[in-house]
């Protein structure tokens, strides 16, 4: 049975991991495998596992466990291997400070305020949902406007339904998943509204969460106004023009008591800012080397805190690497530093890591700006690979072998994703 009360919390650790989601768990395992001895995971929730506990749907683990699991199954299995490795996990503990000596401060009901030293620090704080303030929907400020992920926690863990008649803004996977969840719990979902001309979620979710229940998806349409004094009474929705401005002459009202927002995630980097490490304005996460090390030596970062992932398997993979390097930092056998910068070029929003080295294999994660079919991913003139398609909602990952990099002697490589005939 998974439990999680740590009776003794020590003062010195080899590796301290902030956040016990899939990123933090994989980093701890990686650090142990690389030879670090005393490892601590700190999480502010009742249990480690992160967002996975509330994602009760299947779709996790196909790469990592080679079978399709639900979020809780993935979390519990991973947590079991963390425990097996003798990692200390302290829950109900919030890390509110970190400094350049890799010292953290936490506060917890059980342990009070504690200062803990680490030889290497791993940041795995995950992401936070964007709220109404991020998109400034006009109108009143009644109860009943909440983010889809919060509603997911209410419904799947705490046993509260957010309302009786719900409108969902945003067609990302969380919004689609919640449309089905609420319908299955007897809540009426009036429709999903998406400001872009295309849906943001997986086709599988469009079919199995919306079509299966005849829930309409309105593209190029947004919520233009919220009405109601104490509680949401209705929303005004309107189609948008090419500049994404609502066309009010064509608007209509929908009676509802709840508005769910599924409008994206933002990496949670208060601690990173406190530490003063460099952040990438595009990802809103730390700039990282191929060791998943931030601009501050000995401080590593991984998972949603670095860039928003759509598949937890890649979070585990990237974070295991971060943990391995944190462990190597402690034991003193470091791999060579990077010597090449990756520069996002045509149709590439960002690349993670931000730098690589020419002596070993690397996996590079990136996101494109525009969908393309039959395209080519190009790394300077060192390497290219054909892809059948790319979509902004689906992270692209590319493994580059050293034999392509060995002949490269510059210090920056441009990454482009272009149509195949150019």
């Amino acid at each position: 049975m998974i439990t999680g009360k740590l009776s003794h919390l020590e003062q010195h650790y080899d590796v301290v991991v902030v956040g016990g989601g899939p990123a933090g768990m994989a980093a701890a395992v990686g650090a142990r495998d690389a030879g670090a001895e005393k490892i601590l995971i700190v999480d502010r929730e009742k249990e480690a596992g992160g967002i996975l506990w509330q994602c009760i749907h299947p779709g996790f683990g196909l790469h990592h466990f080679k079978e399709e699991l639900t979020g809780p199954e993935y979390a519990q299995r991973y947590l079991a291997s963390v425990m097996d490795k003798g990692v200390d996990v302290v829950t109900g503990a919030f890390v509110f400070d970190a400094d350049r000596d890799r010292r953290i401060q936490l506060t917890s009901g059980q342990h009070g305020i504690r200062v803990i030293d680490s030889k290497a620090l791993v940041l795995g704080m995950g992401a936070r949902e964007r709220t109404r303030g991020a998109i400034r929907i006009p109108g009143t400020r009644p109860a009943g406007v909440l983010t889809a992920g919060l509603a997911q926690k209410f419904v799947n863990m705490m046993g509260f339904l957010p309302g009786k008649r719900v409108v969902i803004l945003g067609s990302g996977d969380i919004g689609l998943i919640m449309a089905r969840r609420l319908t299955l719990e007897g809540v009426e979902v009036v429709g999903v509204f998406e400001i872009m001309p295309h849906a943001n979620g997986l086709n599988r979710n469009i079919v199995q969460c919306l079509h299966d229940f005849d829930i309409p998806l309105h593209l190029s349409t947004t919520v233009a106004h919220i009405h109601g004094r104490d509680r949401v009474e209705k929303v005004t929705v309107a189609p948008v023009d090419a500049a994404l401005r609502p066309i009010m002459e064509k608007s209509w009202d929908i009676d509802c008591d709840t508005l769910l927002l599924s409008i994206g995630l933002l990496p949670e980097n208060e601690l990173s800012r406190q530490l003063g490490i460099s952040l990438d304005p595009v990802t809103s996460g730390p700039v990282v080397s191929s060791r998943m090390e931030t601009s501050m030596p000995g401080v590593f970062a991984c998972g949603n805190v670095v860039h928003i992932h759509d598949l937890v398997d890649f979070v585990s993979q990237e974070s295991y690497l971060a943990g391995t390097n944190a462990g190597e930092f402690v034991t003193g056998k470091r791999r060579p530093a990077d010597n090449v910068r990756l520069v996002p070029g045509e149709n590439v929003r960002y690349c993670v890591p931000h730098t690589i080295s020419t002596d070993r294999e690397h996996t590079v994660y990136m996101r494109v700006r525009q969908p393309l079919e039959k395209c080519l991913i190009r790394l300077g003139d060192v390497y290219q690979k054909k892809l059948l398609y790319v979509f902004p909602a689906e992270m692209v990952n590319l493994t580059i072998r050293p034999r392509f990099l060995e002949q490269f002697h510059g210090d920056a490589l441009r990454v482009d994703v272009v149509p195949r005939d150019t």
Binding site: V155, G186, V207, Q208
Partner: protein, 126 residues
């Protein structure tokens, strides 16, 4: 041929999302599947047309646990038409903590051959 019906599906096999068209005769036998880019689409359309199935994931009330709900799933995909009835029936189930991942909550739900199983441990509160 004039009696044949056309039904449309969106392929979920990959992000290309091919629009699939199934032509079936008056006995609802599949005559042809069109619109796919790869063979996966053809197989998917036939399955969806003849026997659509879904994994069901929902939650069940639990007393005395760390959380108020414990997540559950069907051990196999069940006919799509049964999904809502299964969820409705599970609303009247209440468990007592502790629950273990893999515990069978309902055996052979509605004669589908699939069990309802817990997808996590739910330790007692505290």
């Amino acid at each position: 041929m004039p009696d044949n019906t056309l039904t449309h599906y969106l392929c979920i096999g990959c992000p290309l999302g091919c629009r699939l068209e199934v032509e079936s005769d008056d006995g609802d036998n599949v005559v042809e599947v069109r619109g796919w880019t790869c063979k996966k689409g053809d197989a998917y359309a036939r399955q969806e047309h003849i026997d659509p199935r879904r994994m069901v994931t929902t939650t069940v009330r639990v007393n005395g646990g760390r959380w108020a709900r414990v997540p559950v799933k069907t051990s196999d995909a069940v006919p799509k038409g049964q999904v809502e009835a299964i969820c409705r029936a599970l609303r009247s189930v209440t468990l007592a903590a502790p629950v273990r991942m893999g515990d069978v909550i309902v055996r052979d739900v509605f004669g589908t051959g699939a069990d309802i199983v817990a997808t996590r441990d739910m330790p007692a509160a505290g």
